[in-house]
């Protein structure tokens, strides 16, 4: 087993470029005095960011340059959305999506 530590400093570098975006708004003085439109913008950033994560993870391929992917992955994500919408259970939606993809691959459809 590889027991080296050559990439541990890289982990610190990754922390150093990630932590400021996590911490600065929480620690910056005056952030609480935002105008109303900015508050609304930040409130809308939540669903927008998560939707963007879902879209890039399911609709784009990982090759370079990326291509639009219209197969079982976005279908499974859509199924998850429907299940969550109907049941309010995230786990049920995720399980439905995983099962759909696994089945499609087992049957050679994806």
């Amino acid at each position: 087993m590889n027991l080296g530590t050559a990439l541990v400093p890289l982990a610190f570098v990754m922390w150093a470029v990630t932590y400021p975006s996590r911490a600065l708004p929480m620690l910056a003085p005056g952030i609480e005095r935002l105008p109303k439109w900015a508050v609304t913008y930040l409130r809308l950033a939540g669903p927008a960011a998560l939707a963007a994560l879902a879209a890039t993870g399911s609709l784009l391929t990982t090759d370079t340059p990326p291509h639009l992917q219209l197969g079982v992955m976005p279908l499974a994500v859509a199924l998850c959305v429907i299940v969550v919408w109907r049941t309010r259970l995230l786990l049920a939606g995720v399980v439905a999506a995983v099962v759909l993809v696994a089945l499609a691959r087992a049957l050679g459809l994806a």
Binding site: N2, L3, G4, T5, L7, V8, L10, A11, F12, V13, M14, A16, V17, T18, Y19, S21, R22, A23, P25, M26, L27, I31, K36, W37, V39, Y41, L42, R43, L44, A45, G46, P47, A49, L50, A51, A52, L53, A54, A55, T56, G57, S58, L60, T64, P65, P66, L68, V77, C80, V81, W85, R88, L90, L91, V94, A97, V98, V101, A102, A104
Partner: protein
């Protein structure tokens, strides 16, 4: 969180009772378990990826504990494998994780009553999942809940550490693609996003983000698309007139916790 029914405590500002907090924590735990269920296998996949990129077991553990950012960790492992410079890796990681600025700013109104050192520690554990779980919980109860935040954080931190390390150690034992586990992350993100949609402005922001993310992603890559969608998506929501219910539910200031004197 895991459903579409509007339930924002911030919106009503009237649901800060103890039983409501317990109920909300119960829901946080249920949603958190769903997160942990997919975080563990995705962590396993990262462990496998890291092994293929030449990481040691200590590198994997340090990466997951310090960077603690799934997508960026995957991207970094891919770049390490192709012998990219650390400067390039740092730039890509910073770009991918820039969205945390928005998460942090969105949570800040609830954290203003907390000491800065505590906020500084809490910031390290802010991920997509922590944000989604914590924000929904804070909205439901209309204020800050320390235990709720740490529950949200640990539902992703613990399985991620365990999954990535175990994945490295048992490399090759799990065929995640054959099992369909690669869809778990985008599916969970879509479900969590749906849980935050409580009006047409939220819906417009989410759908606008999808269009922007995919369009920009096709040109500049998924990471750039993700950041563009997260930054520009809310503008779609701001561009449309809020419904009467949304108008009355939007806070005048991003307070609830500070001014309500909650913990």
């Amino acid at each position: 969180m895991s459903g579409a029914k509007p339930d924002s405590g911030v919106a009503s500002g009237t649901t800060t009772g103890g039983s409501t907090e317990r109920e909300s924590r119960g829901r946080l735990v249920r949603d958190g378990l769903a997160i942990a269920t997919y975080a563990m296998p995705v962590g396993l996949v990262f462990g496998l990826t890291a092994l293929q990129a030449g990481y040691s077991v200590f590198d994997v553990a340090a990466n997951s504990a310090l960077a603690f950012a799934g997508g960026a960790q995957f991207a970094a492992a891919g770049l390490v494998k192709t012998h990219s410079s650390w400067l390039a890796i740092a730039g890509v990681v910073a770009l991918i994780n820039a969205r945390h600025l928005l998460y942090s700013a969105a949570l800040t109104p609830y954290l203003l009553g907390q000491p800065r050192p505590e906020r500084a520690v809490m910031a390290h554990f802010l991920t997509d999942e922590t944000f989604a779980l914590a924000l929904a919980h804070f909205r439901r109860i209309g204020g800050f809940d320390r235990r709720g935040y740490w529950l949200a954080a640990m539902f992703i931190f613990v399985p991620w550490q365990v999954g990535s390390t175990v994945g490295y150690l048992v490399a090759g034992a799990v065929d995640t693609n054959r099992l369909g586990l690669d869809v778990a992350f985008p599916a969970a993100m879509a479900g969590l996003s749906l849980g935050m949609v409580s009006g047409r402005r939220d819906a417009a922001a989410a759908m606008g983000a999808v269009v922007v993310a995919v369009t920009v992603g096709l040109v500049g890559g998924p990471s750039l698309g993700l950041v563009a969608g997260a930054v520009l998506g809310p503008l779609f929501g701001l561009a449309i007139r809020p419904s009467a219910r949304e108008e009355s539910s939007e806070p005048e200031r991003p307070e609830p916790s500070a001014e309500a004197g909650l913990p």
